[in-house]
């Protein structure tokens, strides 16, 4: 997946996470702010990295502001931000 522009998804509401992605300058850089950073910061970064890896994104700069999102919400918001940044539709994303 090629990132063409900055893509963002999510909100600052409780239980959500706001994610911004752009292509960065090589490598993956994650800047995370979280209300639960001391407990779950490492896990949140892992989930973000998993989605990037699944999509074959090796260069990206991610800024995330977490408000206590579940893993499935983090996955969804990162995926939407990536799809928006790559200007790809979501057809081909869905698996049973």
């Amino acid at each position: 997946m090629e990132l063409l522009k900055t893509g963002a998804a999510g909100t600052m509401e409780s239980g959500d996470i706001y994610v911004e992605v752009d292509k960065g300058a090589g490598g993956v850089e994650i800047e995370l702010q979280s209300t639960v950073a001391s407990l779950y910061g490492r896990r949140i970064k892992e989930v973000i990295s998993e989605v990037l890896k699944e999509q074959g994104v090796s260069s990206a700069r991610i800024t995330a502001n977490d408000k206590g999102a579940l893993d499935c919400t983090i996955r969804a918001r990162v995926a939407t931000a990536l799809l928006r940044a790559s200007e790809q539709g979501d057809s081909g994303w869905w698996k049973k």
Binding site: E13, G15, D16, C72, T73, A76, D90, S91, K95, K96
Partner: protein, 298 residues
């Protein structure tokens, strides 16, 4: 396969782009949860809501609660993507909004079947329900209700219906009377459920109970709700009264006695009991069981 026939006293709306409400939506005890990708989601967020609901359904265990997703109409840029994503996510039921004709149902069904085949899911797994929200849909209610074997029910959407009818919602519900009766008649003739519209003032429990009682008396199976606070009052309305339970018990006991005798004639206190009376009695006991009024052994 998902269950076509089950209890649907309440179906709680969850806005599709609100993760905070998705996490524990099932703990309040509504019979069904309805994740909304349609009216509660703005156009620029349709992609985000679809992705969020897909991931939630893939991950969160909602137990035995029925999972319904309200998709966007097929003639919008979002409808087909909603269907593919939700078929893959394993939604039990897809709710079609603004259904006007039987052809709307057939078109939607054909695309669901196409997506099931594409993804190796047995054709027919995904069930459907149709929301009727305009005059044309009410007129075509029976054709809609019988347009697909996948349909579990039809539902009334009162706000859009009133806009279409150029009338206002009233406290008596007079403006919805014909639509409600037409829908419940069509649903019964088709052998599927009839589900009533939402009541959107969460602070007015008295009016909610009035509406729920009205539709229960018309024969509806349940009512859509928008807030966990509305679940208890609606379940209470649909729970049978003690005297009805007692009568139902006597009827079912008479049925068992007749069966034990090998007789097809059921009688109670010297009166013959017809089959419809037995069916109603069994329904009363089923409602009493799920309402926690009587035990599973009763």
């Amino acid at each position: 396969m998902h269950m076509k026939q089950r209890l649907r006293r309440t179906m709680m709306f969850i806005p599709g782009n609100n993760p905070g409400m998705m996490r524990d939506a099932h703990i309040y005890g509504s019979d069904s949860l309805m994740f909304d990708l349609e009216d509660s989601v703005s156009m620029p967020e349709k992609d985000a809501a679809r992705m969020l609901v897909y991931n939630a359904l893939k991950t969160i265990d909602y137990g035995t609660t029925e999972i319904v997703v309200r998709i966007n109409p097929l003639d919008t840029p979002y409808g087909k993507a909603d269907i593919e994503a939700m078929v893959c996510a394993g939604a039990h039921v897809l709710r079609m909004p603004k259904t006007e004709t039987a052809q709307d149902v057939r078109d939607c069904e054909a695309y669901i079947a196409e997506m099931e085949k594409k993804h190796g899911i047995p054709v027919g797994t995904t069930l459907m329900m149709a929301a009727i929200e305009g005059a044309l849909g009410v007129i075509n209610a029976y054709d809609i209700a019988t347009a697909s074997d996948r349909l579990i029910g039809i539902a009334l959407g009162a706000e859009d219906f009133c806009a279409n009818m150029k009338c206002q919602r009233t406290t008596t519900g007079a403006e919805l009377q014909l639509a409600r009766q037409t829908l419940v008649l069509a649903a019964r003739a088709a052998g599927i459920d009839a589900l009533d519209t939402v009541y959107s003032d969460v602070n007015n429990e008295e009016q909610l109970v009035y509406e729920a009682t009205l539709v229960r008396d018309l024969g509806f199976d349940g009512k859509s709700v928008i807030n966990p606070r509305q679940i208890g009052p609606v379940h209470k309305v649909f729970a049978p009264a003690a005297k009805d339970i007692e009568k139902a018990r006597r009827i079912v006991a008479a049925l068992k006695e007749a069966e034990a005798r090998g007789s097809g004639v059921i009688s109670l206190n010297g009166k013959m009991i017809d089959k419809p009376v037995v069916i109603r009695a069994q329904r009363v006991l089923e409602l009493a069981r799920v309402s926690g009024i009587i035990s599973e052994e009763d």
